[in-house]
Symmetry: C2
Subunit: 432 residues, 2 copies
């Protein structure tokens, strides 16, 4: 026989008595009274493959080479069996070991540092595989939202000389003796592109040398950013809500089995895509926090703790808007009604997960932007080309950034952001 | 009236006498005998807007503020006019300047360094805008190929401790006092992921500190990479050919107007998508080059010059396969028939453009890989986790990398790679 059948197709499409050839890795292995039970894993699932006593002894030499995580090819006949996972198993007629595996380093029960040292092997786990499938569909859904709605994908640089969010958390790069920095945000570059393409988006890697270790910060993360000419705050919040829902809808359509395997309650996400996201002001958020006994004063920023308390109140993401200007970046446009506030908006994921999107209207007046730069103690010369955008045909515009791993963390219901990406980077973690 | 109409819709959908409100930037400006002619540019195209003498004097104050690259809103009535670009113009009834623009720094005829210093303004050019639209559709088409054929998108890291292609062209990063490097390739990380997801792809930024300045090298570029378990060389070459054609097909469907604007002969690309890509061996390529008078000896690598001479012979991309092992990386699998050759394949774009894809079968034997590492004078300890992939359930596998800007350069027919990306990075170019 030629060709191979995936596990999902054996379980879903083949009937009792049909032949199949499958290839994959040994997930579980048990020898019992002359019989050999191999649970085989491929990209699509697991299936039990059974060698009866006669077959096991006929294939004795190959069988002796089988061990956990060995790669194998099995050929056999499909049998219905209520006790088997998936309701079917394969009665093995032939077995071939492709790559042996002895004493696979992950057996279960290891500590987190050991597992991260062996991340290149740990990522074979079915749980991480399910998370990565969720991420795949989430990215696909988010991109499709933009590409179906007239937005242009662009490719901003990562090596830069300028700091969007301030210099304290930048990684320096030795660029032929000159000092460059790894990008924290593509925002300024996206802003330059709205004067031709008008509505642009990008997915790039961003880098932040965070000072604190938390469950929800990566030093290197997947950053989806968007910027649009002529868009005000309401317009951009509508985009964010539609985009987040489009991403989750794709995950629910294509990957709900993965969510269930991870243990995520799918009904929570089904509710999210069919509910309007509530909008509260920063003022209201402070009042809610104070009423919960959190000691926060007006004008203070929300940390992880405040966001956790606040979002435990909500079942769907909530927008917080109109922040004090002193806790937000200089490029945010100041309110026309209250000069202490800016047209900024964050989207906080519910269930305690906190910020996944940060956005704002951008200051489009040259004079106001310049005075904000000076007010913040920054050097206007460093922002010369950014100021040019307000010198030549400035337009009202808005934008936002989404932390993709943050969103994966929430959508998949993870308790630590490290599992939202194959190779998480932290202060003490660069290997493998 | 509410809402705005894009230029493309005014030209394509509105009839003589219909009202329209458009917003955009002033592309050309001419005052003639009391009349004012504004060519207005938005993301979708350009349109001539005419103020007759009466309107121009009624709107005198706004008109006086209009200059090249100012942002404006115009309201008026559509008129057919054979002389106007697009066959229609707008008879302006009202005009509003949103953002002024005086003495726009790019007037035409400036040198390349000046233009690159003003890249944030230069990218408004219609030519660059067209190239970026081509790139948008190319990326969309390439991704759709993978997502429609069962491949999983993954997010490999950029900060690494290891060098895939050797250390000479690495950018070092100061990672809290430790030395990290910017990734040159995600290949090793993708290889770790095939043991669960089997067929994976990623688009990340890669970095190479090239020693030479050429028209076709960027120091930072968009890298599409793919890796698949159980795939041999023929399988992977088929993927490459299908993927390249899928990308070009999308560009032809959606962006042929942009190609024509750039001056690209679309029929060349139409021929590419309907022709099988020829395959020649390295040996044959050397013979062709020698017959053209190029002084290359067997065993030498192809540089830009050799690739140019070779691919001028072809109208469609050509695969070159079976390279001498000494000019290729240690991870490529050695031929079973000739131990001096590896199962490597490059895809060279025609018309002199040269390499856009490099791929190979990967060495899947632990012993052979280890001896290749030693043979190359590399330290096996640096490749410990990579070797693990051959220790535990190794499988035959193959992969490749595509330089997206290289492909854009060829598809759009550019004479320099800098215009394939908004902010190209070279040894002396980090700003803006």
């Amino acid at each position: 026989m030629t060709g191979y059948t995936s596990v999902i197709d054996v379980l879903g499409k083949l009937d009792e008595g049909e032949k199949a050839r499958i290839r994959g890795w040994v997930y579980r292995l048990r020898r019992l009274g002359g019989k050999v039970f191999i649970v085989l894993r491929d990209y699509s699932g697991i299936i039990q493959c059974v060698l009866d006593g006669e077959t096991a002894s006929r294939l004795e030499e190959e069988v002796s080479r089988v061990d956990i995580e060995a790669s194998v090819i099995v050929e056999g006949v499909v049998r219905r069996d209520k006790r088997a996972p998936g309701g079917k198993e394969l009665k093995v007629m032939d077995l071939k070991v492709v790559g042996e595996s002895h004493n696979f380093p992950i057996k279960g029960g290891e500590g987190i540092d050991y597992l991260l040292d062996n991340r290149h092997l740990w990522i074979r786990s079915r749980r991480l595989t399910s998370v990565f499938k969720v991420k795949h569909y989430l990215l696909e859904g988010l991109r499709d939202y933009f590409n179906s709605n007239g937005w242009w994908e662009v490719t901003p640089p990562i090596l830069t000389m300028s700091a969007v969010e301030g210099g304290a958390t930048l990684f320096p790069v030795d660029f032929f003796g000159k000092k460059a920095f790894l990008s924290q945000s593509a925002q300024f570059y996206l802003e330059t592109l709205i004067f031709s393409l008008e509505k642009v988006w990008s997915i790039t890697t961003s880098f932040r040398a965070e000072r604190s270790r938390t469950r929800r910060h990566l030093y290197e993360y997947t950053h989806l950013e968007a910027e649009a000419a002529w868009y005000g705050m309401e317009d951009m919040m509508r985009v964010v809500e539609e985009m987040v829902k489009a991403g989750i809808r794709r995950v629910l359509e294509k990957s709900s089995g993965d969510l269930e395997f991870i243990g995520r309650d799918v009904s929570i996400l089904e509710n999210v895509v069919s509910t309007r996201f509530p909008v509260i002001t920063y003022d209201e958020a402070v009042q809610i926090l104070q009423s919960k006994g959190v000691s926060i004063k007006w004008g203070e920023d929300f940390g992880a703790d405040e966001e956790r308390v606040l979002t435990k109140e909500f079942e769907v993401p909530v927008f917080v808007t109109m922040f004090p200007k002193k806790i937000k970046s200089f490029y945010m446009k100041i309110s026309e009604e209250n000069p202490e506030l800016v047209y900024g908006f964050d989207l906080l994921a519910p269930e305690g997960y906190g910020e996944i999107v940060g956005g704002s209207v951008r200051e489009d007046s040259y004079d106001k932007l310049l005075s904000r730069i000076v007010e913040e103690g920054l050097n206007p010369e460093d922002y010369n080309w950014y100021l040019d955008l307000r010198r030549y045909g400035s337009v009202p515009h808005s934008g936002f950034g989404l932390g993709v791993e943050r969103m994966v963390m929430w959508v998949a219901g993870l308790d630590h952001i490290r599992d939202a990406t194959p190779y998480p980077r932290f202060r003490d973690r660069l290997y493998p």
